[in-house]
Symmetry: C2
């Protein structure tokens, strides 16, 4: 029996394991889910032990624990760090889920549940591939260090400390990431860049308490009016970010790369239809795909104040809140952008309002890999094996901070080799993972390790 035969024969077991994994509510941003995080870390460690004779350790951090497992029994062969994360986004808004987020259900060839695509399905694949090699061959074709974290959705801060402090333990040729995503379902792709991130929250206060809109209306500023004006000031009406200096460090996209992106055949109408959007919108002078991949953004992720219940409440709200994150592109730095954002908010503070700003721990530099990297060539060959066609080289609008940490701290590049797809509603209700991607991913990872062994 070959590893591929083994994987084929155990498809249902692997799906059952993924369902068990998704049932553990490992939301990293919210302290209410602390127990779900701990159980998911234990579960992942147990799965690695089950796969083969790995040295497995749950490594505590100042935040959520790391799960580490190494097998270095292939001397002379390459060593890869296999990265993934067991934490998930919050499930809210709960009322938009067709089935509960932590009660995964298969419908029409898809498994639905929070974290199923980001990143529990993709992360389980290399563990099960390792199991297939051990069960059929008694060993792996390469050396593997599994490194799974529980803080990807909140900026990977403690993973960075671990990487900085453990260079020997993480000696490797490169990082092979189970996180990331194929950009669309109909073509395999390889990601060669991702955006960075910086975030902050702010509050505006205009009085010590909410006030009766009759008694006080016309007398003082309403915190929601102040918030609307301040948030509106962050963008020009055409969609360009209006924060002074925001675009200063941004590298112009080369005519060659722009031309290459045009040939990818991005179908804007299909893309809009898929998300239920009315019209594409954003910074003028760029195509939608150029904006998604190569331009920085400033998004308000939450904004609120006043009465949100049924009916009306004639109140002048005294407090209003907003959460912001920016996606950064090469040469932008999170600290520099945070400073510029704060300067903008302070300069545009509305009359009669107090402003308080909290920077998120959350910060990540943007990342790029040389498109001729050996690890990418192996990925290309493995994808041709599975899909019968040459993969596209694409950028990613999202952020995987760990890739930049590995580069900066250990000079290791990251090859993204995920089998989630960009349309699978991660970070939104009804997240799903396509079951055929699970099968394809298992085959592709097995082929990757075998091909890498022969490089």
């Amino acid at each position: 029996m070959t590893p591929l035969d083994y994987l084929h024969a155990h498809e249902q077991d692997i799906l059952d394991a993924l369902i068990a994994f998704v049932q553990l509510p490992s939301v990293s941003t919210d302290p209410a889910y602390r127990e779900g995080i701990a159980r998911a870390a234990q579960w992942a460690a147990e799965q690695i032990r089950l796969a083969g004779p790995f040295d497995v350790e749950i490594i505590p951090t100042a935040g959520h624990p790391l799960v580490y497992g190494e097998w270095l029994g292939a001397p002379g062969k390459p060593t890869v760090i296999v990265y993934g994360h067991y934490d998930v986004q919050p499930p809210e808004p709960l009322d938009k889920w067709q089935t509960p987020p932590f009660a995964p259900e298969v419908r029409e060839g898809r498994l639905y549940g929070r974290g199923v695509s980001d990143d529990k399905g993709p992360m389980l694949i290399p563990i099960k591939v390792a199991q297939a090699f051990f069960e059929t061959r008694g060993g792996l074709p390469i050396n593997v260090r599994f490194l799974f974290e529980g803080e990807e959705e909140v900026g990977s801060a403690h993973l960075e400390t671990f990487i900085r402090d453990n260079p020997m333990r993480l000696a490797a040729d490169f990082v092979l990431s189970a996180d990331g995503a194929m950009w669309r379902i109909d073509e395999p792709s390889i990601t060669v860049a991702c955006r960075g991130m910086v975030g902050l929250e702010f509050a505006l206060t205009t009085a010590a308490k909410d006030l009766h809109s009759g008694r006080y209306g016309g007398g003082i500023n309403n915190a929601l009016h102040a918030m609307a004006a301040l948030v509106a000031s962050l963008h020009a009406p055409d969609g360009r970010v209006a924060v002074t200096g925001f675009y200063d460090a941004v590298e112009a996209v080369s005519p060659d790369e722009r031309a290459a992106m045009t040939t990818l055949g991005f179908d804007e109408m299909a893309w809009l239809a898929q998300i239920g959007g009315q019209a594409a919108f954003g910074e003028p002078g760029y195509t939608t795909l150029e904006r998604l991949w190569t331009r920085p953004t400033l998004e308000v992720n939450g904004m609120w104040g006043g009465y949100q219940g049924a009916g009306s409440k004639t109140v002048i709200p005294a407090e209003a809140y907003a959460k912001i994150t920016c996606r950064l592109v090469p040469h932008q730095h999170p600290d520099d952008i945070a400073e510029k954002l704060i300067a903008h908010l302070e300069a545009h503070r509305p009359p009669g309002a107090q402003l308080s700003i909290t920077r998120d721990g959350y910060g990540a530099l943007p990342y790029r890999i040389d498109p001729t990297h050996m690890g990418l060539k192996v990925a290309e060959a493995a994808l041709i094996d599975v899909y019968g066609k040459k993969p596209l080289y694409v950028r990613m609008g999202g952020t995987i901070p760990v890739s930049e940490f590995f580069k900066r701290r250990l000079n290791l590049d990251t090859v993204f080799f995920s089998f989630s797809t960009a349309d699978e509603d991660f970070h939104a209700p009804n997240e799903f993972f396509r079951l055929h991607r699970l099968r394809e991913g298992l085959e592709a990872w097995a082929r990757y390790w075998e091909r890498l062994s022969d490089v």
Copy 2:
């Protein structure tokens, strides 16, 4: 024993009754409180029966019931409709209350609880005054029709229908309202005008679901950016309402009235200190008091969308919501202002966003009474009896729709004779009612009815 002696001797009983009344959670705007509403209506009816031989009836409406009680045993004497309301505002935000909103507590001469000042304390006063007259004299000096409603906080719509359909049952000389408020604690005052009201809610949608801010950021408009821009467009930066035609019908305040308002000695710094405001703010060209009493306003009462939990969530919200109410001044009409608001929202709909608007049932015309009205003169005399000084004639920034209904449907004027005070945090957490106002109100109502009997 005189009625005043009786009231003095029963102060503690009356306070206990008020506490029992406030314990009934009669929030009219939220269907979750339906039972609290029903219990409060029954309680009020019972209190009227307890006061004396009134014909009492709980009158169902398409909304919350009316409580009616009449005693017409003083032939030849004036007849007044005594108006009040047993419904209250929602208690949210609950975490801002020092003690629970429906567990009233006396602290430092004040009773704290939702609805204690608006309007349960003031409404209980005339019931207890009636009881004092029946217990000591066996009858009232005038004819009284109690009419208490359960929908004041949601626009009094079904009371208007009842007034329209029952002109004979409501035959009276004028309305004496236990709702309203003294404008400040250090001087008695009589209200001669109040503002009207119109409200609506709207939603903006930019996609069929919330989207990952990395994958989609830069591609489509964010519903919160759209909402901020749309809400910001409602006001000019200087605080003036920017809706076309909003001020068209507004009558200019006469130089005489402006001069009279100046002599009232409004202390802006003290007013700001009391509400914890940084600075007064609003339409230029008017003093703060002029804006509060004589100018219309547009206030956003609630605005929300996206993630509001702990930590961050990197999402592009697909939906955003806002609730608006306007306070109207003489000659503005709710329908006309609603049309202008809707036209503004549609004209400023941001790119890529769908707009849906719901008009609140909520609408009320502004109201004024002739300052020489006999009922006001009796009020002035009764207030001089109690306070030893001549009351101020003031306007009110708030809205009591019923006054305009009585005027339009039955040509009856409304005399406001409430003993709540404008600073008692109605519509906000920690609403309170001063216990000395309860004593003063009981005396003043008893004196009012006696003086009215002699007119």
